[in-house]
Amino acid sequence: MSFYVVQFLTGLASAASLFLVASGLSIIFGVTRIVNFAHGAFYMLGAYLAFSLTERLSGTLGFWGGIVGAALIVALIGVVVEMVLLRRIYRSPELFQLLATFGLTLMVEDLVVLIWGPDDLLGRRAPGLRGAVDFFGQAVPTYDILLIVLGPVVLGALWLLFRRTRWGVLVRAATQDRDMVAALGVNQKWLFTSVFALGVFLAALGGALQIPRDAVNHTMDLRIIVDVFVVVVIGGLGSITGAFVAAVLVSELNAFGILIFPKISIILVFLVMAIVLIVRPWGLFGKPEAAARQTPGLSVRPWQPLSFNERLACVGALIVAAALPLLGSNYALIVGAEIAIFVIFAASLHFLMSVGGLASFGHAAYFGLGTYGVAFLAKFLGFPMIACLLLGPVLGLLGAMLFGWFAVQLSGVYFAMLTLAFAQIVWSIAFQWVEVTGGDNGILGVWPAAFVATPARFYWLALFVTAVSVTLLRVLVFSPFGYALRATRDSGLRSEAIGLNSKRIQWTAFVIAGTFAGISGALFAYLKGSVFPDNAGIALSVDSLVMVLLGGVETVSGAVIGAIVYKALSIWLVSYTDLSKLVLGGFIVLIVVAFPKGIVGTFGSLVDNGRLPFFKRALPGASQAEGAE
């Protein structure tokens, strides 16, 4: 019995940090409507800075001064970020805000490695709290008791701040109606900045307080952000009480889940989240969200099928691509095959995002499932390659059916957070269920059959599958189903009023996108000859988002161009610099702020404005621009 009590207390102690970070995220979202993906990065920065400060400052005062000082410094960094970056994107679509803050996260990851090095750092224990308290014969660290007390104290302090101060009243007013608060003469800019600073302070404090419990390392940002997303989805985005209750719930589920399913304890959290989503889609303490904002500058140019000449141009481009083995080296062919595979992957996400308006932040889950599908069939069942390629993606399809059903119950930022959490669950299973997946060592030796064993032949296979997939997706866009899907994106009210079952249509689209992602994953497994958990990782999910964004979200097939440019660029980048995340993150932020329409969209606008007279007649619209490729 006492063992369970101790386990319960450990859970409560873990909840403290989770609550701090989640409440910060909720406060920022409430006022600015931005889901700050970089919150995990601020949490990590808080931990690193607290580590450095507490190493240098001595004594009890030095330790606590270091913790609070670290959080304050990070809050200042947050102020700079808000003023320089976020102020430019408050009016942007949610997707861009999530991406920009994710770009920031990538940059911070490389920066902390530059400054503090790649190894785990073990922080100082809190002076005077190094010991343990005896609980019925079981030891509970004194520091944990402090954390257990701290959670409710912070909750109370926040409550007082929002209920009893003028600033708090303004923040609550802005949470309900920003425009009205501005109309009443409140300086919005500084209100937003101060709210962001408070949210970042809480995140950094959460990180700083972890150093006596956990090693500091450069992957802690993504670990916490996924947990935090789960917490705010369960608790309800924008509710601080919800963040507290859900943080306790999730931490306890983790603490006890480990006893029940030691390998895959995350399943338990997933189940609870699923139940909450079915019963209260907006979370335990949240309110139903108003309809999502229309994307500003949403393309008013309706999409058109390719004309005869444009189709001819596409076939021409395909023939040129198919001739690569005549001139390219083996290396070029392998890179070419990889690019082709990523074109399918990006196109599948593009279908979901652009046509369906559903921005998935966890699309790699279905890519990863496709790779593992192939690996299981080839290694465990000894299936031949063709059978594996055909059946492997079924795992992606099944995953998309399961997760998609829950995801389409939500929309906007909730959809993004939920899909990310699902992808992380897939990744965790691949990583932790070592007996089946090989864990971090992956599954090796997935070799292609003899008839495509040369780089040239494999390249042709990849190119063929890509051409077929992209064509199918394009046909789908202009099919009745594609229009029904666009209808649900454009106006949910009107769609339902003309007999369209929005959820079922969106679910179907999710499954289609997941299946095509699975197809690209299946090819990828054969390209690499091995399968790893990172095939379902967050980095890959974000790669796909950037490819779509780079090509142009509002175009029919911009993702094709986006994938080619992005993949070529990143392969080149990785071979030239160690700081690829820093460059990539900066690149993402730059696109969001400077070129939100992407390559194809920007090209289309230039043509429309008569800036490229040469293309005027040949290519009247961006939707046709890919024909020029």
Partner: protein, 263 residues
């Protein structure tokens, strides 16, 4: 008209929000081919009433029957499938599609082809879509992005979308708001013609009394959630209660009086 079969039968429809009784015990019926107007001052419960008819909102009490089928509380998409088209007070269309495509989506849905993945929608019943657009008077804009249309034209487009369903019943929430006076008359004349030709029942709300008295066969008057009068335009025009509460000076005077007291 009285010989026509009952299309829509509403019994004791009620809905309250918290302590506010938005709609209280409303009962009426509508025959095929009949044009019925629902009028009443702002806040009388017209929109709530409308939303309960096509499943946008669920009533607390009461029953809605369409050709004898109980459709109370069925979702909007199910009500559409039974042959009910609706236009909204604030238009809801698909802004990234062309005007023609807006109608084509409705045609696709009417033909039950939503999950078809290989046909080309731009070619789907194109002539039928153009015919409907021509009918409501926006045929010239077929290839324009719907987001570029003027408000009055969006209202016409909504009518075309509703007609794409070959409806038995049309629910039109302020169909002529935002239109010039002559356009209003034209649109309602058109609606009346289509309704008579195809025996479609029409229920509409409207603030413009010229439109109401010229085109309605029958008028329902709603005040504070309850029906206070029902009858032909002449009957309603003469009803002293209606004059006092709705058409008369009562409300304006009342409002002025209260304003004065508050200031």
């Amino acid at each position: 008209m009285s010989m026509a079969p009952t299309l829509l039968a509403v019994e004791d429809l009620s809905k309250s929000y918290g302590g506010v009784h938005a709609v209280r015990g409303v009962s009426f019926s509508l025959a095929a081919g009949e044009i019925l107007a629902l009028i009443g001052p702002n806040g009388a419960g017209k929109s709530t009433c409308f939303d309960m008819l096509n499943g946008q909102k669920t009533p607390d009490r009461g029953r809605v029957q369409l050709l004898g089928d109980d459709i109370t509380g069925r979702p909007p998409r199910a009500v559409w499938r039974l042959g009910v088209g609706r236009t909204f007070q604030i238009t809801a269309t698909f802004p990234t599609m062309t005007v023609r495509e807006n109608v084509q989506v409705a045609l696709v849905s009417h033909a039950n082809c939503i999950f078809n993945v290989w046909r080309s929608t731009p070619a789907f019943q194109r002539d039928e879509a153009d015919r409907l657009l021509e009918l409501v008077g926006v045929g010239g804009y077929a290839d324009r992005p719907c987001g570029e249309l003027a408000y009055g034209d969006l209202k016409r487009l909504e009518l075309a979308i509703a007609l794409a369903n070959r409806p038995k019943l049309l629910l039109m929430d302020e169909p002529t708001a935002g239109m010039a006076p002559r356009e209003r008359i034209e649109l309602m004349r058109l609606t009346a013609r289509v309704a008579r030709e195809h025996a479609i029942g029409v229920l509409f709300t409207e603030h413009d009394m010229d439109v109401v008295f010229e085109h309605a066969d029958r008028i329902l008057v709603l005040n504070r959630g309850a029906l206070i009068a029902e009858g032909s335009p002449d009957d309603v025009r003469r009803d002293p209660q209606v004059r006092a509460i709705y058409l008369g000076e009562g409300l304006v005077y009342d409002a002025r009086h209260r304003e004065g007291a508050g200031a």
